[in-house]
Amino acid sequence: MKKRILAVILLLGMLTTLLAACGSKGANPEKRREANEIVIGIPQDFDSLDPDHMTAAGTKEVMFNVYEGLVKPTSDGNIVPAVASDVNVSSDGLTYTFTLRQGVKFHNGDTVDMQDVLFSLKRRMSEDDAAAHLAALDIIADVNGQGDTLTITLSEPSGEFLAYMMNVFIIPAEYEESAVSMGTGPFKVVSHTAQDSLVLERFDDYWGTAAKVAKVTCKIIEKADALVRGLQSGALDMVSHMTYAQTSQLKKESFHVEEGSMNLVQALYLNNSVKPFDDVRVRQALCYAIDKQGIIDLAFDGYGTPLGTSMFPSFAKYYDASLTDYYPHNEDKARELLKEAGYPNGFEMTITVPSNYQPHVDTAQVIVEQLKKVGVTATILPVEWNSWLSDVYGKSEFQSTITGLTSDNMTARKLLERFNTKAGNNFTKYNNSDYDELYAQAVSCTDDARQVELYQQMERNLTENAANVYIQDMADLVALRAGLEGLTFYPLYAVDLSTLYWG
């Protein structure tokens, strides 16, 4: 018997040694630095590598490095030529002339020609492929491509046409037949293993400034705490969109944390068509009752920018900071308004929250506590993201919901159009004729200054009528391994991998 026990102990000892020997050869940040590679952690899988089929923000932000349009955004919010070298807009705002840049190459080495550009554009204009169809391009009356010159004629002027063109990514004409996803960006896709990883490599023939790191691996890890462990264990070098609670677990000497903003409007969105939120006084009461700064302090450790309307500070041109404190935190005023509206004892409401977004769930928990103080009993109703899309966003079957809405093409229109009565995605059922009137004027306005003014009036309209309880633009905390530098924030949901380097 004793012999056997001894044997077992010996066996265990051998096993441990073996494990230690195998394990130590694992992922090593030092080795990656030598090889000029990085590994980033991504909390969700890529929904599609096809540039015209990707919808998840998490996919778009990475593929930003792979695909480019004729024009592209810069980190300070401007639109600059990319695959095109020059853009001209006629004085009536109806004709756009793009000149193709010479010698831009696809990832397989082929040169971009007019045929590819026309294919890419038509793919997004056509309604045959429902997922690829970009409705904003419906105003295109005529497309004419000859030699290096592409002329697009619009049926009506649009101040945001170029912004939408950023999302018409240039792909080869034979894209649908080819097995690999390729574009013209600074990185090319090497492989994608579903639910595991996406491997990107630097594209050496890139027309612009080449990327600094040679290889980027995006590891897909769904669980937030597993991401933190991945950083701690040395498996990952960078993770975006973290919370302070997570970054504070990392050692200061091994990581540095950069703070940007998520560029989204996080709000308690109210269904304006159901009781009691069809009464403006009730909506205003909620605005007074909810303490934005309190939410930011409690659930986000002070990181975040309070907002007062459907616009965030990165869009400096359109952003009206004076609206932020339009409804200062005031519980007495809230109670008064509720009494006026006929709810002296408060009421019961539900807050639908997409359960996979912990920040929204946390916000909801704080709001429940804040509303309790003015007699409103709120119940949190977490739903899966898909049910949220279907029931809340699609069918407006909700009372109130917390989410963050973004603008994926840097236009104010994207943020504001969903509150116009006729908008298909007006999920809050906001119904205000002044607003509709302003919107109609704004979209067809070609005078930039006038358009900005109109958009600001729309923002004020939303605030004055308390369309929703606006909360904040959430902070984007990015954890990077010590030595990894060069992170650039964009005013849209994008991670620029080309500027990162090991210092």
């Binding site: 609670a245 309190g294 912990q358 928990q365 109703l381 739903v383």
Partner: protein
């Protein structure tokens, strides 16, 4: 055999008793408001004012554990009740009647058993949505087959026993035979099944919370708190350890009771 004190049963009853008592107290009184948040008291380590420390919102973990174990207990008991009642009904019918009833119900039962339990719960929750009551429903369904199987075997074994046959000859109704004569005799196998079921329910609820399909905030169950706590493990290890510890104690206590019951059963036999 000499009558000895059943140590397992006693220890199990003491542990479970203490936890139950605390939970009961928690229904009426908690040291702090379990949902009250406090900016200045985030992530406090355990101390006199906060026995288990505080969480990321500055809420008192001890108070939340008291409330949470109430939720967990309620879920586990309700789940076991659903599973045991429905399972016993199905098992009794199939075991007693046999034949076509047995074949149809048992095929359905097999199909349910064929789903790994967490998957079945996942599917049910996807349909009915998350929340306390739906978790009970999902887990209840998951637990039916095992109870059905246990009762079926017991009932099938008793079907042709002499006193049952006599009862039948005397004209007793099927229902009466099953309820008055057979059921009391199956308690011997049902009781351990119930303690095991209770443990599985507590652990399954924790796993479901971990996968994000469990109870919904601010209803804190122990499982929900543990899955929340593990995200802050290196910031506030006490959060995970305290909630994890209470779950383990709860299951441990019930496990000991089960062990004790089994021992009694052996000694009787």
């Amino acid at each position: 055999m000499k009558k000895r004190i059943n140590g397992y049963l006693l220890a199990g009853l003491i542990i479970t008793g203490i936890l139950l008592l605390m939970t009961l107290v928690g229904v009426f009184y908690t040291p702090c408001d379990p949902n009250a948040m406090s900016m200045g008291e985030k992530f406090l380590s355990p101390r006199a004012a906060h026995l288990f420390g505080t969480d990321n919102f500055g809420r008192d973990i001890f108070s939340r554990v008291l409330k949470g174990s109430g939720t967990t207990l309620a879920i586990a008991l309700a789940t076991v009740a659903i599973g045991a009642v429905a399972g016993t009904l199905v098992g009794a019918a199939t075991g007693y009647f046999g034949g076509i009833v047995d074949d149809t119900l048992m095929r359905l039962n097999d199909a349910l058993t064929a789903f790994p339990s967490i998957l079945l719960a996942l599917l049910v929750i996807s349909i009915v949505g998350p929340g306390k009551y739906n978790v009970v429903l999902a887990l209840g369904i998951v637990f039916i087959p095992s109870f059905a199987r246990v009762t079926r075997t017991a009932f099938a074994g008793l079907r042709d026993v002499n006193y049952i046959t006599s009862a039948r000859l005397m004209g007793a109704s099927h229902f009466r035979i099953m309820a008055a004569h057979m059921l009391p005799n199956t308690l011997r196998v049902l009781l351990p099944a119930i303690t095991i079921g209770f443990n599985n329910a507590v652990l399954a609820e924790a796993s479901m919370s971990f996968l994000g399909i469990g109870v919904t905030p601010p209803d804190a169950s122990l499982g929900y708190m543990l899955s929340e706590a593990q995200g802050m493990f290196s910031r506030a290890p006490w959060y995970a350890l305290c909630t994890g510890g209470v779950i383990a104690l709860l299951v441990f206590g019930a496990g000991l009771i089960g062990e004790g019951l089994q021992k009694i059963d052996r000694e009787v036999a």
